[in-house]
Symmetry: none
Subunit: 242 residues, 2 copies
DNA sequence: TCTGGGAAGATGTCTATACATGTCTCGGCA
DNA sequence: TGCCGAGACATGTATAGACATCTTCCCAGA
């Protein structure tokens, strides 16, 4: 009988650790077959449900791949990825000790263009909520926020008072988001953007494009245009090694 | 007896859906107490282990908070922050089905400037490893990777053959990184950058600045300059971090 | 030779039961 | 009055057993 590690904690954690040790040490290499649940039960002297839970959690962590009826295999190593956290601009500015202000430039309901309909996956044909807000740090404009909101999910978006509640807080309450897609690009400010952000024409800007889903329908389409005076950044511990 | 949803799939998924429905509809609000496992067993007519699994998974997804001995509660809404995942450029290009190539422009050891020393928190006074690599998608240059490596941690960095192993793989093996700091900015390409990326002078570029730590010492300082033809992006479900 | 069927073995789910562990309350005792 | 301990109740873990579902493989029969 093999020996489980002697660390403290529940049994299934020890089983996880036992298996992870074999993966990390290279004893069980990529794509190699891991002992079956039944074999692990015999080897480790624990019940099948305990082994099953350990294997299931290692699978959802991406360390193993399981195929019903076939077996359990060591997952290929994760690709190199790091995470960057994008924080609410109001709190980011305030935590730097700067003054924050937002001007509502526009709040309306509009018929979506063909391009916008495509961004919504053609999930709605009705008018969508539309807002443009200019965010300031110490009275200097730093970001243009433009949102398009699916009016099936938040019908009264264009009737809110966004000086009292932020657009995010309102959306959070009306539509629980379940998925996010984000793209960051560098663009050259057009004339209007440069004017709003008090930049010279042709200055580079950061464009953060974000779509959110509620279930399988697109809830919002957003464009955040950051002044070149501003940087997106974070301090983040990488998750990838467990 | 309450009714479980009639969707297909395992029982514990239906229990999860039943609970999520009550949270999303607002029937069970923030911080409100959720029925205990025992109550859910009576209400839904399933075993406690099945209820427990549903509650456990909803907890690890961030929808619930459980306190042993006390109860289960609806989790407060997530703070406004989303994560963007930055993937290894080689695998990102390859998963798009494009051809990937990297040219090593430079590999040397150099005495750090005062500015570079500051980036290293003055943790080293010796020469640092320095590399510049140009990454191509379908033979079109898309990113300049420039790395400075603390030679206390990876002394032979400038003697590696980075056509055989990627800089990341080498660093991953020699220095386990424990923390990452990243900043994204939009910059205007200077003349040399524009030439290397085959852009017009003055084109906007994405600059990703990354520092990594091993313990409390700075391991690497990196600058990734992305062509304006390229976007940083990801698809990422929010929340779910354990 | 080809094909269908069944056995074997793998993972996936569900239940009933038991015990462990943490929290809170309430009542009795000093 | 204050404290502390028992009990109620919550979640957390572990087990044995049963059945479901899926894949693979081999063999019997056409």
């Amino acid at each position: 009988m093999a020996n489980l590690p002697e660390t403290a904690g529940p049994l299934y954690e020890k089983v996880k650790e036992y298996i992870l040790d074999h993966i990390i040490s290279g004893a069980w290499g990529k794509d190699q077959r891991v002992p079956s649940e039944h074999e692990l039960v015999s080897m480790l002297g624990v019940s099948r449900m305990t082994v099953h839970r350990a294997l299931r959690e290692l699978t959802s962590d991406g360390h193993l791949v399981r195929i019903q009826g076939v077996g359990t295999f060591v997952a290929p190593p994760k690709p190199y990825s790091t995470l960057i956290e994008i924080v609410d601009i109001a709190s980011e500015i305030r935590t730097r000790g700067a003054r924050y202000r937002a001007d509502i430039l526009l709040l309306e309901s509009l018929q979506p263009s063909q391009e916008l309909l495509a961004a919504f996956d053609f999930a709605t044909r009705k008018a969508v909520g539309h807002s443009m807000i200019l965010h300031h740090e110490n009275d200097m404009p730093v970001m243009i926020e433009e949102r398009f909101v699916n009016s099936d999910l938040a019908p009264d978006y264009d009737k809110q008072d966004f000086s009292a509640i932020t657009t995010y807080d309102f959306l959070q309450k009306s539509t629980p988001l379940t998925e996010v897609e984000q793209v960051i690009a560098a663009i050259t400010a057009d004339e209007e953007t440069a004017r709003m952000l008090a930049l010279e024409a042709g200055a580079p800007c950061l464009l953060l494009h974000r779509r959110t889903w509620t279930g399988s329908t697109v809830a919002t389409v957003n464009r955040f245009t950051y002044s070149s005076r501003y940087t997106l950044g974070s301090r983040y511990a990488p998750g990838s090694f467990r």
